[in-house]
Symmetry: D2
Subunit: 394 residues, 4 copies
């Protein structure tokens, strides 16, 4: 019925992130006025039986069992990389070189070196109108986007303090098995890379300030865990054999930012009772704001512009049509879920492709986050000394 | 790829509820293990241009412009009625008589008489394996379903107190226009029928007690509002001509329930600052619980079984795989949105159809809610006297 | 050291309220610039041993064992009545007739008839410069006083909705004994008079509207309880003999107010988990506010004057020097306790005495509250019919 | 009337802390069963006119204008030091040497060297039954004391994470004047010493773990402020002349503790909107807890001992008679204020004196806190390097 140009999407990976991204591609057209007719062309995974089942369940019209085949297909214009960080660089660079737009899950790569190569490939591709974006989806939480808008408009004045934590508790049990996310060779790092990367990106993006130096520490509370045959899943079962946990359980650091703010950051998987506790508090000259991912439809805002007797942290329900992304959804007060961030991300990406602009966060932004995380690891390894963060373009 | 039997769905209406139900049908298969291959066969509306656009946007493969045609189609086995209450009875009865399963949005009908006819049709159809369900979707909020489970298991003991409000504020502005929801001939009643029906159904369902009598009042704060050419929309624009508001802006009542509980209920569209404020507090012999739709992923629970020094209202994040419906979605702490209730509703309905059982809430349950609302209106009209609620089967 | 005139205080009763009032009189001078030198002259109770101990513990310089003696003392200018409601009328009228100022705990009396006599005595005394005040101390919570100020200034516009509850749970256990507060002959009524009176007074005072009619019900969940030798205490011990509970456990009603607001009220001692849960929500044309006694240093305020995207319920810490009463205490953020309300009450009373003005709430205001409670009981006794509330001056 | 031995108290200082301590001494007997008859003997300050007024207002029966005279008085057995930190050492050592018990406000001293001398004096005095205590009053918040009890009983298991902030905002305005608290020579340090000391002490006390090393930074956002004639007050007025701010506005650090916990700490006076925001979150193997001084009557507690579906942070109202200190006050749900901590502190001190035991926190504990703060300053001065904390006992 439509006369829109078709954009075929091919997705790599079908686990947790694959399910979430599928939901986004399936929903995109119904929520937003999208510049392309989205074709969920193919999903790609190594095990045929599983990838076929995933294709059927999540609504992809075909499947592939190796990513090279996916990239070669003419009916696919965009590669969505949802696999673990270890093969991001290889897939993303090949796709970009083949002229496919790329959406790559965070962290951009497991090492700064790989990330640098990806940035080069993205910059080369951009010259040909091919776009690349890294999936820091929390920028697409309406409350976070609105927070950035408030800071940019100067409602808070200069930001002096950042307090950012990402608290989870899914491995508090010492019998929780040694899944891939606890192995450095597959996951790159632990809490720091997995969830610390989100708070580094999000606070920098909201405040418009970059981290210039850090001092911190990391800790692995449980050094050995039961081995599992299949290390792919998040939930495993006990085993009598044990293997070494080679990533951090928690990372904590203080930082200074380019605009004069000082900050504390903490990422941990040992915060008993906190399930998805990404919380950010910013204090500025003229106001403050608080965001909590477990209540992502809300933003707390304090403004000194009111008279002294009626100032207070106001809990704003970020569900008005005038709030970022929310005109696409339901009447005020009808909350959205975590998964909607991926629909927003997909919308921003395809809009940028259509408009011929670079989508944000770029691979260069992803690299800069990696460099911050790298500095934190260096500080931790050197006994919590101060480590400056270089500029990615430097 | 699948060998499942196909279930064709035909939907009547494409406004707010139509968008939400479309999202449910589109998402159902990806989230749950559904017994049918769902075919979004056709959407139906009076204005061809609009219904065609809705079909394309929301993912329906065809459209119809009159509901009789929809019912006659062989490729459709289930009629989903999302139009205003005024034509529920006509459509639902025709569909049931034609052997189509029916999902009917609440309120079941605009009058008790119509609702009675619908119950008769549903009971006749059930004898032939045709199913009917009324869309009190808030039963499918995981926190609400979990609340019911806690009460059923006796965790709270006998329920003594119910405190239920549904607070909105979308017509506080006196210049908000006279949309169809403010006209008795189309909407049946105002806040009472639209949102009061939800709290009546939800509290009865969670507690397992039925309202046996009420005493209350209704109020229309703004008696006249600007006329609008198109009264279909929720958001209108000003006009110099005015018409009479013929429904209640607010309804308040006290009640007694079959299990000995006493209750206060309130539904209003004049609670400035409350957007979708459905809140329920239950107090029982052994514990209490609090639910708030604006934070629908949470449930507050108080239990006296703990020792005196550590009792408190605990805020439970209802996002564990062990919570109702939640195994279908994301890891703990990754919240869902308001719209997910419709996916859960669709899942329960098609499961009941497959299993050959009556889905709940039945039309008889919908009728009973209508009879409670009717008693409230009678009480209000008679100067807040006590009005017993008859049994629908009585 | 001072040249201030001395005001001798004599207090009747030394239980819960007596302890709280003692704290107020002892603290008054240190917190406020008081027009009199307060002399804690004497405390009065029937049992000499106990009243002597109370005098020493709470800082009274002498004691009496009958209230007539207290009233006759020349060194006492103010009688503070903290005994149960049954003897309020007798003591207060005698004191006023003897030319003593009176502070009388709420409820003013156990019957409307007694309250009327007290009003007459107070009005006669006022002609001679003798003052009378009823102790609705929650008017002296800074957040409540500030709420009233906001309403009076028109910040919320016309008030449309009042939602008021006073929730406690101290008799949920069926083995809790039959203390005096559960006996009509001593306490007058149950939850309605004890705590319902507070929310009736407070909402009327904050909104400036009077309740004009009610429809409601009462309930006694536990009909019989263990007898105790001493029924004076709040905490008793089990016994094999049982007696009848002759007051309500809970009272619920809807109401209309003089300014057009509609309201729900509820007072109960069976709200498991709620310890001192006095909560009030007001919705006005231009804003809303929420107060919760368990967090009495806070007020939630919603204003529509802000732009649509930043409106929200703001949590104001009512601890600024510019907030009512708070200049007397600590720097911002250093919270005060429940007992401070009595110090504020005492301050307002002695200030009114010094200035020769009538302190509020007057006995006439106390009578009006009694008449509302009386109407609720009449409604409950007549099967929840509508009962208008007469004017006390009518 | 009593036969108790009298304990005469002499207090140095009559500003903010003096007012709070006066309230404690005046209230002590009425709330607790105190082993002495407390005599508020004398208050001491340099300006006769002011100290005389303070004596009258706060209820001291005499005054002195130099602290040496206070110490020499035979009717005084306890010296309560509420003056700024600069003269703590001199007064406390003299008092202890004169055989007077000492309560000394925190921080113990402005330098570690002075604190060491005070510890020596206290240890010598203790041999003669003379007691010394440092005033970390927040240990006497019932919720904090209860938190310690829960940790000691093992309810949380081993503590892995500490997150502690003390957030205020009283100098966010750059025109706020250069009061004594912003001058190193009088205040010793800024936010770190004034409020950071509280969170260091409180977290160590609750967890039973000591900080063994830190890495951090400090910041002074506003380098110059208006001079004021009188630098004693907290609130000043503008001036055209400016002077240098010589203390930190904010201090942030990461730490490791003796029991294996890792921590972030932050103290700042630039957290716009936070008035007295002392917040602590602890995560342990088996549970977590959260404390917030702005809601000091509450404690949030999470326990994994419950089944997975009903775990949640429970908000416990710490107002039961079974909670620490609370049997002295009001029925459950009737909250206490910030000032009550001083009454509890005084009670614990005089009880220890009567029992002949060392009250906690001892001067040695105060010294250890100073050494932690000193390490933070050293880390900050050395570019955020890691600085181990020595043991005070060497």
């Amino acid at each position: 019925m439509t006369s829109k140009q078709t954009l075929g999407v091919g997705m790599v990976g079908y686990a947790f992130m694959g399910q979430a991204h599928s939901q986004a591609w399936r929903t995109l057209n119904a929520a937003f006025d999208v510049p392309y007719a989205i074709d969920m062309a193919a999903i790609c995974g190594r095990t045929e039986e599983k990838v076929r089942a995933a294709a059927e369940k999540y609504g992809w019209r075909s499947y592939e069992t190796n990513w090279q085949a996916l990239i070669e297909r003419d009916d696919i214009g965009l590669i969505d990389i949802c696999s673990p960080g270890g093969n991001h660089a290889e897939v993303a660079i090949a796709a970009l070189n083949a002229g496919k737009h790329v959406l790559c899950e965070k962290p951009l790569a497991n090492t700064v070196e790989e990330a640098r190569e990806m940035v080069k490939a993205a910059e080369a591709a951009a010259a040909n109108g091919v776009r690349a974006m890294v999936g820091f989806n929390y920028r697409r939480v309406p409350a976070a986007a609105f927070a950035r808008k408030l800071v940019q408009e100067g409602k808070l004045g200069a930001i002096r303090h950042i307090r950012a934590v990402y608290l989870q508790d899914w491995i508090v049990d010492p019998e929780f098995p040694l899944v891939w996310r606890l192995r450095k060779e597959e996951a790159g790092s632990g809490a720091l890379g997995d969830i610390g990367s989100h708070i580094v990106d999000l606070t920098q993006w909201i405040t418009g300030q970059k981290i210039v130096g850090v001092s911190g520490l990391t800790e692995t509370f449980i050094k050995e865990r039961p081995l599992v045959a299949d290390t792919q899943g998040l939930r495993g079962t006990g085993s009598s054999e044990r293997g070494e946990v080679t990533v951090d359980d928690a990372a904590l650091f203080v930082a200074r930012l380019s605009g004069g703010a000082v900050a504390t950051y903490e990422a941990t998987r040992f915060a008993t009772g906190r399930k998805n506790g990404l919380r950010i508090e910013l204090n500025g000259e003229k106001g403050s704001l608080v965001f909590d991912l477990e209540r992502l439809n809300e933003l707390e805002l304090y403004l000194t512009e009111d008279d002294n007797t009626t100032q207070g942290f106001r809990r704003i329900l970020i569900t008005e049509a005038e709030h970022p992304y929310m005109a696409a959804w339901w009447p005020a007060g009808h909350i959205i879920g975590w998964e909607h961030t991926f629909t927003h991300e997909a919308y921003d990406l395809v809009t940028a492709i259509a408009e011929g602009t670079d989508p944000s966060p770029t691979f260069a932004e992803g690299l800069q986050v990696q460099m911050v995380l790298d500095a934190v690891l260096k500080s931790a390894e050197s006994g919590s000394s101060w480590v400056p963060v270089e500029s990615p373009t430097g």
